[in-house]
């Protein structure tokens, strides 16, 4: 177990290095720099500014400094917003984004598993068709289309929920739902097919032969086994919710990470781009590790181990 985690951490650092290098290369290849603007500054000013941020050095030198700072978790100052470090931005924005994302993933998981189970248990009947039509809609409608739609009806016309903003519990509902819908649909479809596979298994017949009533067979035997493939897609689902949240945060004016991330790219705010990218990458890799560890807990046949065959 420890061996497994250790090996994964090494792999994780390796992928982070690749991601850091790629981001650096990509950033350097975009035309322009943080000081490109309409207004003409004297060349001396530009040169001073560049020296201040180490941008006057050769590219390999910049790369080495950048990696050195990264290792010490020093992500530097924002170029546009000189009073703030990238670490400040992360600690301001991330909790908000994480809260929104957390609710979305939780909602997606609960609603998806429930819908998929209902569809499978009533296979070929009305609930099945209803759930699967919803799922098709969920997959085909992007969150940025759904979000204004929800705002218009639930927010404006029926005045049920606040239109936008952040801080009050009821303000989470709309953005979290908009963000979750696509994942709900994916999970529901996966859960349905997985359930249909499990209900024909011999051990379900054994459970029925014990005299357990149907709801007990479903809750204790069917769902537990059917959920394993759903756990597999939780990693990608978390990734989708994170990236989706950039747009959703903008639509609902939520002061999360998305704002900083989008602004930093348009401003070519190098330290912020680097910082947020690396941060998100490590977060995602960590989530995938947790998902992998969860397998062993849900399905005891899967042994998490570092060595083959041990």
């Amino acid at each position: 177990m420890l061996h497994f985690i250790g090996r994964r951490v090494v792999l994780m650092l390796l992928s982070l290095w690749v991601i850091a290098t790629l981001t650096f290369v990509l950033m350097k290849s975009i035309p322009g720099d943080p000081f490109t603007s309409e207004k003409k500054y004297p060349p001396q000013t530009i040169a001073n500014l560049k020296a201040q941020y180490g941008l006057d050095k050769s590219i390999p030198e910049q790369y080495v400094t950048y990696l050195k700072n990264l290792v010490t978790f020093d992500l530097g100052f924002s170029i546009n917003n000189t009073s703030r470090t990238v670490n400040d931005m992360l600690s301001d924005g991330f909790p908000i984004s994480a809260e929104l994302g957390g609710y979305s993933v939780f909602l997606a998981l609960c609603a998806g598993v429930l819908m998929g189970s209902v569809a499978a248990l009533w296979q070929g009947r009305l609930p099945d068709y209803a759930m699967m039509i919803l799922a098709v809609i969920g997959i085909s409608v992007p969150s940025f289309v759904l979000a204004p739609f929800l705002q218009k009806y639930l927010g404006l016309e029926w005045r049920l929920l606040p239109l936008a903003g952040w801080g009050k519990p009821e303000q989470i509902i709309l953005p979290a739902s908009a963000l979750a819908l696509g994942q709900v649909a994916l999970i529901a479809r996966l859960m349905r097919s997985s359930m249909l596979d499990v209900v024909t298994q011999d051990y379900i017949r054994t459970a029925r032969a014990k005299g357990l009533p149907p709801w007990r067979v479903v809750s204790r035997h069917t769902i537990r086994n059917a959920i394993i493939p759903v756990v597999t897609i939780m990693g990608p689902a978390i990734a989708a919710v994170l990236t989706g949240s950039f747009v959703i945060e903008k639509i609902f004016s939520i002061p999360g990470m998305g704002k900083y991330f989008v602004e930093s790219i348009t401003n070519r705010d190098y330290p912020v781009i680097m910082g947020t990218t690396i941060f998100y990458a490590s977060f995602l890799i960590l989530m995938n590790l947790i998902v992998d560890l969860m397998y062993g807990w849900i399905d005891p046949r899967i042994k998490v181990s570092g060595r083959e065959g041990s």
């Binding site: 298994q201 011999d202 051990y203 017949r205 054994t206 459970a207 029925r208 032969a209 014990k210 005299g211 357990l212 009533p213 007990r216 204790r220 035997h221 537990r224 086994n225 849900i298 399905d299 005891p300 046949r301």
Partner: protein, 342 residues
């Protein structure tokens, strides 16, 4: 004869498919006495498993359906009682074990929990009591260090041990009847012998009546007191094991015996298979289902199902036209000669 603990009367079970209705069981009559072992033998598709699953109402439905007949247990007709009443009987009054122990246990639940589940549901035991009983059951079925084993998962058990665990699950609530659907088919021969011996021992200890579904006549000879031979969804011959094995009256039973390898016959003597294949149950024959493969078939065999003849009243019964007073006299020996000369 005492009143049987379970009685099946004229049971018909069908499966609806796109191609039509498969009449898997077509009028089965059976009685099970208290504490005895009754074997149901027959080749694949003869309806023996469907009969067993009907007793537990475990036939997948749809497409399966009990069309007609009664299954009487404890004064109740199991085909008519509510689902709720059936849950009370399943696992508590009638236990069942299945063919493949590798797939019949839930892989994500410890063996102990799988035994405890039935106890907590039927006997309302609390967790500690149930676990205590689970350990007791594992010890009873011969699993060493049961205290450690209750906490393990099925994949940590070998095939034979899993079947032992299955038996522990099915017997946990002290059922009156145990239905064993090919319990040894998926196991290798030495383990088969162990499991059969275990079932015999437990039967003596618990006085459970066993219905043993099998196609292995060796298993029947070793375990059962009575045997029912099924063919084409019907029971063609039934009786005590000695009666059916040594004084069989039905040509299909002769065929089964002839196709079984034996130690006491000459080495160069070949096994005689039954030529042909079982009837199509989409469109079952109106006469005897075995008529097309039977070397002694007469005209009437194809046209009409024979009545059941009591060879030994209340014990040995056979459904064959050869029992009719006008039928020619043929014997088991003739059949073997006939097949050998083909």
């Amino acid at each position: 004869m005492s009143t049987p603990i379970l009685e099946i009367k004229d049971l018909h079970v069908s499966f609806k498919t796109y191609a039509g209705e498969v009449q898997a069981v077509r009028g089965v009559n059976l009685q099970l006495e208290k504490g005895e072992t009754l074997a149901i033998v027959g080749e694949s598709g003869s309806g023996k498993s469907v009969t067993a699953q009907s007793m537990m109402r475990l036939i997948p439905s749809p497409p399966g359906k009990i069309k007609k007949g009664e299954i009487l247990f404890d004064g109740k007709d199991l085909t008519k009682i509510s689902d709720k009443e059936m849950y009370q009987i399943r696992g508590s009054e009638i236990g069942m074990i299945f063919q493949d122990p590798m797939t019949s246990l839930n892989p994500t639940m410890t063996v102990g929990k799988q035994i405890m589940e039935g106890l907590m549901w039927h006997q309302r035991l609390n967790k500690n009591e149930a676990q205590h009983r689970a350990i007791e059951m594992l010890r009873l079925v011969g699993i060493p260090t049961p205290e450690k084993r209750v906490k393990q998962f099925p994949h940590q058990f070998s095939g034979g041990m899993r079947q032992r665990a299955m038996i522990a699950i099915s017997l946990a609530c002290n059922p009156k009847i145990l239905i064993a659907d090919e319990p040894t088919t998926a196991l290798d021969v030495t383990i088969q012998a162990q499991i059969l011996e275990l079932m015999r021992d437990l039967q003596i200890k618990t006085e459970t009546a066993i219905i043993l579904i099998t196609h292995d006549l060796g298993v029947v000879a070793e375990t059962a007191q009575r045997v029912a031979v099924m063919y084409g969804g019907k029971i063609v011959e039934t009786g005590k094991v000695e009666e059916v094995f040594y004084r069989s009256r039905h040509p299909y039973t002769w065929g089964l015996m002839g196709s079984m390898p034996r130690l006491d016959i000459e080495r160069d003597e070949e096994l005689s298979p039954i030529p042909g294949s079982p009837p199509d149950l989409f469109d079952p024959p109106k006469g005897c289902p075995f008529a097309d493969r039977c070397p002694h078939a007469m005209h009437i065999c194809h046209d009409e199902m024979p009545e059941v003849t009591e060879v030994i009243p209340g014990s040995h019964q056979v459904a064959c036209w050869l029992e009719h007073s006008e039928a020619p006299s043929v014997g088991r020996g003739t059949m073997q000669v006939n097949i050998a000369s083909k």
